[in-house]
């Protein structure tokens, strides 16, 4: 079963390294990772698929939440979420099987994005298992080359995003002094 962690992170140098570091320091291998900007260009959405046992995954998500650059880290494994992956396949094919390939593509809801005498480039979207099948089918027609996007996921629960407000730096005293005052 796929285990999915979704993160909202500040778009800053080193952020990706910090997040993957939480996994790599424990020797976990990342199955897939996607990152892209959100509506707010200073933030990125990251989806990580990784095989970590549930107790540890809770801890890993907490540690990710602790990172200064992470606004929110959520474990989508057991919560309602929609996830999709895209695959691009280039298949070399003789003229004789071209029609058959197009038929198969139709079954998988795949689109032809490029066509040449050598063959096709196809694009398909779906859950990873469905894409596995599509790839298997295409392989039976000849030489293929595959690039998968990695999983992207969106949570179906509205989770309130809690952000820390700006911290005033009292003029001449600095935030540390301000904080000391707060603690008194």
């Amino acid at each position: 079963m796929l285990q999915v962690i979704s993160l909202l992170v500040e778009n800053k140098p080193g952020a990706l390294m910090r997040i993957t570091g939480v996994l790599s320091s424990r020797g976990y291998n990342i199955e897939s990772l996607t990152v892209a900007r959100t509506l707010d260009p200073t933030l990125s959405r990251m989806t990580i698929v990784v095989d970590v046992d549930p107790t540890l995954r809770r801890h890993v998500v907490k540690q990710m939440n602790k990172l200064v650059n992470v606004l929110q880290a959520a474990d989508l494994t057991e919560s309602p979420a929609v996830s999709r992956e895209m695959v691009l396949i280039r298949v070399r094919t003789p003229i004789s099987t071209r029609t058959a390939i197009l038929k198969e593509a139709e079954i998988f809801n795949a689109r032809v994005v490029d066509s040449s005498v050598e063959g096709f480039a196809l694009e398909a979207t779906g859950d990873p298992e469905k894409l596995d099948e599509f790839i298997d089918v295409m392989r039976s027609y000849g030489d293929i080359e595959v690039t998968r996007s990695g999983l992207v996921a969106v949570s179906l629960e509205a989770k309130k995003l809690r952000l820390s407000p700006p911290i005033p730096t009292a003029s001449g005293t600095g935030p540390q002094a301000a904080n000391n005052k707060l603690m008194e």
Binding site: L163, I167, Q176
Partner: protein, 567 residues
């Protein structure tokens, strides 16, 4: 501009070692009132900054040049991370356009220190500098404190600009939970009243959040016994009747038995470290657990608490105390008899196997030595310790009447920590008597810093607990590797009187118990630095001891006794 930021953060002292790319910084320091302490190795700059921070509660600052300077800081940074000590490390970096070109003294400091710090920065333009530095100090000192590194390329250090005040810093993803959940706090207070055999298990978090007073009120109000971890020593005065001792691998019998038998474990600013819990499945098996910690990722990491509270220990305790005081008259009596029995059980354990320093007439026992230091300190002195057997004996026998007196390398256990940490502590607290209690191994890792001690005339009392071995490793080889002693004998230890003299310091070696008291008193009387090398019995082991992987109730209380073999 950089120094202006530091001044605004209340920095008065930097521990550092200059180099090529930090020249502009040192040029600015030339006529600046911030004090720079030149250490003899960058690692010790990080350790000294931690000694400074641990003794004061303020963020320590250390500074190193690019490349080797920065990589030498790494051990110190991890040490601060493990012990949640607030420090800001400033490192030089090659000019921005040279980064990534294998320039002279270039290292990927930002990448290398990512996992060694709470957070780190690479400043690529002067405009970002004030904002970044204020953020660095804020992140280092708030929440669960830790080390923050700011990597400063040469051209950023060289550029000139007037400091323009930063009105606010924006860290939307940096969450600090301080207050604790109101409902949870109320439930915690009820659990505390209802418990029959409560035990407070408090650690470094209590000291970091300045919660010592609140802790004292709590144990007095609940009439509960308390154990303090290695990092928490001093959080409750050692003379306090409710204080049992340190628990764990080398904790006392009473402390470990109390942990094993309590029905409510009140865990405050602790992380259920393996050196405390022993085999986790057998740790506090009968107890419900209340865990108060400011770091959410510590909750449930090793032990799932029955009642977690994420918040600042001082604030949470303050709120719990308020609820307890409201409850007090109505709900105290029912458990009185059970509490009485619990206390008498604990007193029995204490009587059965007390921690008593071994004393011998023919050789100086290390326990004897540290208990003499305890006598001279009377709970008042700062004791900075290195790592190993002497550290455990010091933790067992030296008492501390207040927080921030005991300074050790807890989580990482880095040898070589004691002397530079003592330097930092003495500079921070010139009024205090400071002992550096070191093993003969750790002392030799830190010998270069004798020059720093001499240069500043720091009146440290450096006491070397010299057994001629890497004692803790030897103890394990003896107990768990059939006494096959390999690479643990420290031959060719220098003559300390001559060594001290070479640095212009006073020093002496003693080896007979009759000399011990006089020699220590002489060292304390001496207004300047003093190195006292004490040759102790070489094969003494630290007991009690919980073997790795055993339950803490399965302590080995002393060296194996010859037993009669049944026929």
């Amino acid at each position: 501009m950089l120094l202006e930021c530091l001044v605004r953060e209340g920095v008065d002292c930097i521990f550092g070692y200059p180099g090529g790319v930090t020249l502009p910084l040192y040029d600015a320091l030339y006529d600046h009132h911030i004090r720079h302490i030149l250490v003899r190795h960058e690692e010790n700059a990080a350790f000294a900054a931690q000694g400074h921070a641990r003794a004061t509660g303020r963020t320590g600052v250390c500074c190193a040049t690019s490349g080797p300077g920065a990589t030498n800081l790494v051990t110190g940074l991890v040490n601060a991370l493990m012990d949640s000590t607030p420090i800001v490390a400033l490192t030089g970096q090659v000019a921005v356009k040279l980064i990534g070109s294998d320039a002279f003294q270039e290292a990927d400091t930002f990448g290398i220190t990512r996992s060694c710090t709470k957070h780190n920065y690479l400043v690529k333009s002067l405009a970002d500098l004030p904002q970044t530095l204020h953020e660095a100090f804020y992140v280092a000192s708030t929440g669960r404190p830790g080390p923050v590194l700011v990597d400063l390329p040469k051209d950023v250090l060289q550029a000139q600009a007037r400091y323009s005040p930063v009105s606010a810093i924006h860290l939307p993803g940096y969450k600090v939970f301080t207050e604790g959940h109101t409902g949870q706090i109320r439930r915690a207070a009820h659990m505390m009243w209802e418990a029959q055999r409560p035990l407070v298990y408090a650690g470094g978090g209590v000291i970091l959040s300045d919660a010592a007073q609140a802790l004292r009120e709590l144990v007095e109000l609940l009439e509960a016994p308390a154990v303090l971890t290695l990092m928490g020593l001093g959080a409750l005065p050692s003379f306090h009747p409710n204080f049992i001792s340190m628990p764990g691998m080398h904790g006392s019998y009473a402390a470990n038995m109390a942990l094993s038998e309590c029905d409510l474990l009140i865990a405050l600013g602790v992380r259920f470290d393996d050196r405390v819990t022993g085999r986790l499945s057998a740790f506090a098996p009968h107890a419900k657990v209340i865990h108060v910690d400011i770091d959410p990722s510590e909750i449930g990491k090793n032990r799932n608490p029955d009642l977690p509270i994420v918040g600042d220990t001082k604030r949470v305790l303050g709120r719990i105390l308020k609820v307890l005081k409201e409850l007090e008259p109505a709900e105290r009596p029912p458990q009185a008899a059970a509490r009485q029995a619990w206390w008498s059980q604990i007193r029995t354990w204490q009587r059965e196997h007390p921690l008593i320093p071994a004393v011998s007439a023919s050789e100086i026992k290390p326990q004897h030595l540290v208990s003499e230091i305890d006598r001279l300190s009377a709970g008042q002195a700062i004791v900075a310790s290195d790592v190993g057997q002497h550290e455990m004996w010091a933790a067992q026998f030296i008492r501390f009447n207040e927080p921030r007196l005991w300074i050790c390398s807890g989580g990482l256990g880095s040898m070589g920590f004691g002397l530079p940490a003592a330097i930092g502590a003495q500079l921070a607290r010139p009024d205090k008597l400071v002992f550096a209690v070191l093993g003969d191994g750790g002392f030799q890792m830190a010998i270069p810093e004798l020059a720093t001690v001499a240069a500043h005339g720091l009146p440290l009392k450096i006491v070397i607990v010299n057994n001629g071995y890497l004692g803790m490793v030897r103890q394990w080889q003896e107990l768990f590797f059939n006494n096959r002693l390999c690479a643990v004998e420290l031959e060719s230890f220098p003559d300390v009187a001559l060594l001290a003299a070479a640095y212009g310091l006073k020093g002496r070696t003693i080896e007979h118990p009759s000399e011990l008291t006089d020699a220590l008193e002489e060292a304390v009387r001496e207004p300047g630095p003093y190195i006292l090398n004490v040759k102790v019995s070489p094969f003494e082991n630290v007991y009690p001891m919980v073997p790795a992987g055993a339950a803490i109730s399965e302590m080995v209380l002393g060296p194996p006794q010859p037993v009669a073999v049944p026929q």
